[in-house]
């Protein structure tokens, strides 16, 4: 089924369409959320919150405003960041500023992981350090270009082209 049709059905509260979308994107969201909260239980809790919120707020999605993946990615990042700002989370005094997604990619020692994920981890390992960081900020953390340029100490104009080159490399590695 076409994605557009699937999304429309989801917006009409079709549970099977919801399940299909869930299967398409839930693991990605889990990865994004876990990268931010770095706690398995909290990540599960945020996951449930995100998809319940998506279900309730399905009407607010409009394909002319962006990809469905981007829409749910936004919900996930915001929910995870909100969680890290909550009092209970701060009390566990986690310092996440320096962490980025590369740290949580599976290693080959961990045989429980899918070979696909291990393969990707291997590819990502080959990316330049600056690529890993820009991808982390823009996709995993939801930084704006300006915030990314400040964090990476890189002119705002070059963020776009730099990111383009990084994603190009990533695509060659993971899609072929």
């Amino acid at each position: 089924m076409q994605l557009e049709a699937l999304v429309i059905k989801f917006q009409q509260k079709d549970e099977r369409a919801f399940e299909t979308l869930y299967n398409m994107y839930s693991e990605s969201m889990h990865g994004v959320i876990y990268n931010i909260v770095r706690d398995h239980d909290i990540a599960q809790e945020v996951m449930q919150d995100v998809f319940i919120k998506a279900w309730h707020k399905a009407d607010s999605y409009n394909s002319s405003k962006g990809r469905f993946f981007t829409w749910i990615l936004n919900i996930a990042r915001n929910a995870a960041i909100d969680k890290t700002r909550s009092k209970s989370f701060k009390n566990s005094s986690k310092n996440l500023n320096a962490d980025y997604f590369v740290d949580i990619l599976p290693t080959q020692d961990n045989l429980d992981n899918s070979t696909d994920a291990i393969g990707i981890a291997k590819f990502v390992g080959k990316l330049a350090e600056k690529c890993k960081k820009v991808i982390d900020l823009l996709y995993f953390k939801g930084y704006t270009q300006k915030e990314a340029s400040e964090t990476l100490d890189m002119p705002i104009g070059t963020i776009k082209t730099h990111n383009r080159n990084c994603i190009k490399e990533l695509r060659e590695m993971v899609l072929n």
């Binding site: 990865g31 398995h40 990540a43 002319s64 990619l105 995993f140 939801g142 270009q145 695509r171």
Partner: protein, 265 residues
């Protein structure tokens, strides 16, 4: 060529990341509708990001059923939704609380301010009152000094006026400065004149007895020190004070002669 440039600009990667403005999102959407290559590019970028983010997911998967169960649970029990919601609204409640505190603070300050303003007004009135008092005292003091100076003047002629038949306890004193043709009368020993009556002061020459009015004391009640001054250019030999109807009389009513004193020559 246009679309290739567009693709190469890197905007589509940011589109998938969700870091574009609303207007830019709209623009990309229109480009995707117009150019299948642009749409394909977006799909490829998205697929790469989906794969990458998936690889970061922990191995303890969250099943769709757990979402569904929670969803149904919250649908049946709306209380849970209500309990959950405020958590995410924490910052907005803090905002409201801050607004209420700020509003309260402003009201309090406003109230404080008007209280202070009232106090300032009260103090201003008090200050004006004291200033008036000081002014009065100064003026009293100046009067007193003037009187003392008058009495000390070596040219002054002091004339005691004794009480007469109509009111024997009455007494008065006249201080006559011939040089500046002024007579000062100390009338503290006279009773207050009844309603409709005033004291009239007379200059007398004795042989023959000729009274000349020096004027009436119109402000007897209102004067504190009961010292009055009248002009006297006459060659007076005596002073007399009679009680006359308001406005004074042409000639003295001798039955109402209160005090009389002869000038010692």
């Amino acid at each position: 060529m246009e679309k290739e440039k567009y693709i190469a600009s890197g905007i589509l990667e940011l589109y998938v990341a969700g870091s574009l403005s609303e207007a830019e999102n709209k623009e990309v959407y229109n480009m995707m509708l117009e150019h299948p290559e642009v749409l394909q590019e977006v799909l490829d970028i998205e697929a790469a990001i989906v794969k990458l983010t998936k690889a970061a997911a922990p191995k303890d998967k969250v099943t769709f059923n757990s979402i569904l169960n929670k969803l149904k649970g919250t649908d049946n029990d709306t209380k849970v939704v209500k309990l959950n919601k405020p958590k995410s609204n924490w910052s907005s409640y803090t905002g409201w609380a801050a607004a209420v505190i700020l509003g309260g603070g402003l009201l309090w300050m406003n109230n404080q301010n008007s209280t202070l303003e009232t106090q300032i007004t009260e103090i201003q009135i008090e200050k004006d009152f004291f200033e008036t008092q000081i002014e009065d005292l100064n003026s009293d003091l100046a009067d007193s000094k003037k009187i003392i100076n008058v009495f000390r003047d070596k040219d002054i002629i002091s004339v005691p006026l004794a009480g007469q038949a109509v009111y024997p306890e009455a007494y008065a004193k006249a201080y006559w400065n011939k040089a500046d043709k002024t007579v000062y009368l100390d009338l503290a020993g006279l009773p207050e004149p009844p309603e409709g009556k005033v004291y009239q002061v007379w200059s007398l020459t004795l042989n023959p007895l000729t009274p000349t009015s020096l004027g009436t004391i119109d402000n007897f009640k209102g004067d504190d020190n009961k010292i009055f001054n009248l002009e006297n250019a006459n060659e007076s030999q005596a002073f007399g004070i009679t009680l006359e109807p308001e406005g004074g009389s042409v000639s003295p009513t001798l039955e109402q002669l209160y005090t009389l004193g002869v000038i010692e020559s």
